[in-house]
């Protein structure tokens, strides 16, 4: 990839930083308990906020009486919808449908109605429960079925207002509770199904899931003069800045986002979450206010979409896949959040990475009176891959073809079209799935009630490719990278340091990457869609190349050497037998007090260099294998072995990649086997604590987890890299479902709880008995 390098191509020494499992730069700080998260920050004068939330799913707000709450000692301010009359209080990057706090109507149990700011958390909590709300109940649509019924109550009325960052072109008009619809059709579907020897048809259910980043949403807001400062656990600080500026009518530069370490994100902290409420109450109080969610509050702040899907797949007798049709309904809750994008991605994932004669897909984003759903790692792909892949396996079973073989027959090859007009396939899927199968002992004997499954999928990754970065080399030769990628545990700061070190030949421990402060850190669109290494990393590479150019220019003069004779060594540049350190070069350039070399790097979809013009930035490979055992007496499924494939182009830090896949694998096991948010018919979330909502623990680890890293240097990112970290979460549940079917228990509803699996086993044994008669 071109990066504005100098005319000369200097020889590189052996001080490689890329391709090595460099220890995490933030490790020692975190191990000592000294890494600072938003909740650890105390701003002078800071008050503590408490949010009063709706107890009903759908109602008119007849009255909100704060008089008793105001009497509580230590209370400084109380905000209700009435205090927002001077603003257009609606936000939402996709659809501008959500008020900062409820204005005249609540739409889900847990919707913020009022906020209190007080000297202590205890005083704020006490005051919040003293606020008296008079609800005028309305009929509620608390499930997909209720929201799609002919006489369904409408969650929203009036036309939809598009937000400023959905990137989905012109949005269609609302159709009842369907707020967004994504469709595509290619080929002649009727002809494909008419020609089929086998047709597999099914209806499938996927549950609502909580991301559970251990650090809950936390925000501190300060509103002073005409400037807002926010410390926030957010993944996309620059997009939050934009929404806050729009909401409060300020120029972008008057809004400052400071992002310390995040205690996990997984999509739950993408886009705008608690920031508008925090700013509104800080504005009211005239003092900084902290909002720190309890787990029960974060669970109703954002979640993964539950979904219903009908799908059918047609195949010829030789195993050639012919056609697929899918209709998808995603429950986005009371506000769209990232629902439209999730819907489009789910639609794109429905065909799977196969060569079809014909495909028809419709995906619907549906409002209901439940908590809003948004991004969660590998969204869309996790929803659809297990369905499409289980149909491919069912075709294979009926035709007595090995599941690996049917994929060899039908998988897209490198360079083939994935979706019309977009980037063609940029990976070797057959090679990847063969590796996943081999790693779980594909051809070994299968004991009774044990099964093996594989799955393959693609995730449109990279989001919108806009990132900028600055690299500064100071008078002591130390390097500072300013890049807006959020460190949420994935190791982004370490990887960015490696990229800059590799370009400059600087020792990686001399490169520092800190958190984002939008006032000083150059613009980066977002941290998600596996984009940081590929897009922000390319900006860092280009910025470092500018610094390198300046170093080489000076070295050429100092060493009296032609540029082509220069060698990059560790922390120095050499020619022949002479070498000058970076520090010496900066002194030589600026005089003995030193100066600073700064480079700027930019990635943009068009008009830049590299292959960022074509969407998606890259296709993230979602490939896994699983080996499971089911106990027919209890229905308990045990995942014994998993394998995943990280097809990363070039592995900047192999160990961090393996950890990404292992973490995604455990989340995949949770999503597949037991994670489910349960809502009552009244829209109340029943399991709103970790006592009742179980996430995987040490004891849910498979006996063996294998991650195979594939390096074909075929990514658009720095040194041929492309992103990873999400694929395994889409692929592992699909592999588990296929393995369970291989063990004799095909399932069409997740999670695979013991009860559900046991009932299915009873059903199937009944069917067998029937047939036996």
């Amino acid at each position: 990839m071109s990066g504005g390098t100098t005319a000369a191509t200097p020889v590189r020494g052996s001080a490689a930083a890329v391709g090595r499992s460099v220890p995490r730069a933030d490790g020692p700080l975190k191990l000592a308990g000294q890494a600072e998260f938003t909740g650890d920050i105390h701003v002078p004068g800071m008050l503590y906020g408490a949010v009063l939330r709706s107890t009903v799913a759908h109602a008119r707000l007849l009255a909100v009486d704060t008089s008793a709450a105001a009497q509580v000692g230590g209370v400084h301010a109380i905000l209700t919808g009435a205090d927002l009359a001077d603003l257009d209080p609606f936000y939402g990057h996709a659809l501008r449908d959500r008020p900062i706090v409820a204005i005249d109507r609540v739409r889900f149990v847990g919707e913020p109605i009022a906020v209190v700011a007080a000297e202590t958390q205890a005083a704020a909590d006490l005051a919040a429960i003293k606020i008296d709300v008079d609800y005028g109940p309305l009929p509620a649509a608390t499930s997909l079925a209720a929201a799609l019924a002919a006489d369904a109550p409408e969650v929203h009325d009036g036309p939809l207002r598009p937000g400023s960052a959905h990137g989905l072109g012109r949005l269609p008009d609302r159709d009842g509770n369907v707020c967004y619809r994504y469709t595509f059709e290619r080929g002649n579907l009727d002809r494909a199904f008419d020609a089929a020897a086998v047709i597999v048809t099914g209806e499938y259910q996927f549950p609502a899931v909580y991301q559970y980043s251990m650090e809950t949403h936390t925000t501190i807001a300060q509103y002073r003069g005409d400037e807002i400062t926010l410390w926030s656990s957010c993944q996309h600080p620059f997009l939050v800045r934009q929404e806050i500026a729009e909401l409060f009518g300020l120029p972008l530069d008057a809004v400052q986002l400071i992002v310390p370490f995040l205690g996990g994100g997984f999509g739950s902290k993408s886009y705008t979450k608690m920031e508008p409420i925090a700013v509104a109450i800080a504005r009211q109080a005239g003092r900084p206010v902290r909002i720190l969610n309890a787990v029960a509050e974060s669970m109703v702040t954002t979640r993964r979409h539950n979904m219903r899907c009908t799908m059918r797949t047609a195949a010829a007798a030789d195993g050639t896949l012919l056609g697929r049709e899918a209709e998808v309904w995603l429950d986005t809750g009371a506000y769209a959040d990232n629902g439209p994008r999730v819907t489009a991605t789910a639609g794109d994932a429905a065909p799977g990475p196969y060569r079809w004669q014909a495909v028809r897909v419709g995906a619907n984003c549906v409002y209901t009176n439940t908590s809003p759903a948004g991004s969660y790692r590998a969204f869309g792909a996790t929803h659809l891959q297990w369905i499409g892949e289980s149909q491919v396996d069912e075709v294979a079973r009926r035709l007595a073809i090995d599941p690996l073989e049917i994929r060899r027959i039908n998988l897209l090859r490198r360079g083939e079209e994935v979706r019309p007009g977009g980037k063609p396939l940029d990976a070797d899927l057959v090679g990847d799935v063969e590796k996943a199968a081999a790693a779980i002992g594909w051809d070994d004997a299968r004991p009774a009630w044990c099964g093996r499954g594989i799955s393959v999928g693609l995730l449109a990754a990279g989001a919108h490719p806009v990132s900028t970065a600055t690299v500064r080399m100071g008078p002591d030769g130390g390097v500072s990278v300013l890049v807006g990628t959020t460190e949420l545990g994935q190791g982004a700061r370490t990887v960015m340091a490696q990229i800059a070190a590799e370009v400059l030949g600087a020792p990686v421990e001399r490169v520092t990457v800190r958190g984002t402060d939008t006032r000083y850190t150059p613009y980066d669109r977002s941290t998600g869609a596996s984009r940081s290494t590929t897009v922000a990393g390319a900006a860092v590479q280009r910025a470092a190349n500018e610094v390198l150019d300046a170093l080489l220019e000076t070295a050429s003069m100092v060493l009296e050497s032609a540029p082509s004779m220069l060698r990059i060594e560790s922390g120095a540049i050499a020619s022949g037998g002479r070498s000058v350190t970076h520090q010496e070069l900066i002194r030589a350039r600026f005089g003995f007090t030193g100066g600073e070399l700064a480079g700027h790097g930019r990635v943009q979809p068009e008009g830049g260099s590299g292959s960022y013009a074509e969407g998606p930035v890259f296709w993230e490979v979602c490939v896994a294998g699983a080996d499971v055992q089911v106990d027919p007496a209890t229905g308990v499924v045990r995942v014994r072995r998993t394998s995943s494939v990280a097809d990363v182009g070039t592995a900047i830090n192999p160990q961090l990649i393996e950890r990404q896949d292992e973490g995604a694998t455990l989340q995949g096991i949770g999503n597949a086997l037991f994670e489910e948010m349960c809502f009552t018919a009244d829209g109340v979330l029943l399991n709103d604590t970790l006592l009742d909502y179980r996430v995987p623990s040490f004891e849910d680890m498979p006996t063996s987890m294998t991650c195979t890293i594939v390096e074909n240097a075929d990514g658009p990112g720095p040194f041929g890299a492309k992103g990873c970290g999400e694929g395994a979460l889409a692929a592992v549940p699909a592999a588990i479902v296929n393995a369970l079917a291989d063990a004799g228990v095909p399932m069409r509803e997740l999670p695979l709880t013991p009860e559900r699996v046991w009932r299915r086993i009873q059903e199937l044994s009944g069917e067998t008995t029937e047939m036996g008669r």
Partner: protein, 160 residues
Amino acid sequence: MTERITAVINGKRFEGAVEPCQLLLDFLRGDLGLTSVKQSCEVQVCGACTVLVDGAPVSSCCFLACDIDGRQVETVDGLVGTAFHRAAADAFMRHAAVQCGFCTAGMILTAKALAGRGLARSPEQISRAMSGNLCRCTGYRSILDAVTEILREPGEDQQI
């Protein structure tokens, strides 16, 4: 109304007043500024707020501050610089067992308690013993590998 307590916190004598209903978590974070102790689930499930009280791991989110009267409390801040912490940090770094870091201090403290008791040695035993510490990032294997290693080769100052 407050209650006077005397305790040894990270090796230093503490004498002062706490509210009778104050949680140990809020006391350590709010009053003493020991922000290495993290708040997450608040129901004694996740282990992010783990501290050692007389060497035993407790969830400080469900433990009253006044109940540390006459006892010893350790957070990871108090372990830094000890042979155990050096060994743990080294193992966690080599296995890349740290990601977001929110669970890390709790993991190290639980491992320290296990080291002191000498009960868990095999990966299976350690998995069971540590199942009260959740991590959403790593997938656990790297943490298990690191802890198995440090419990196999105990540091010098393990006696609690």
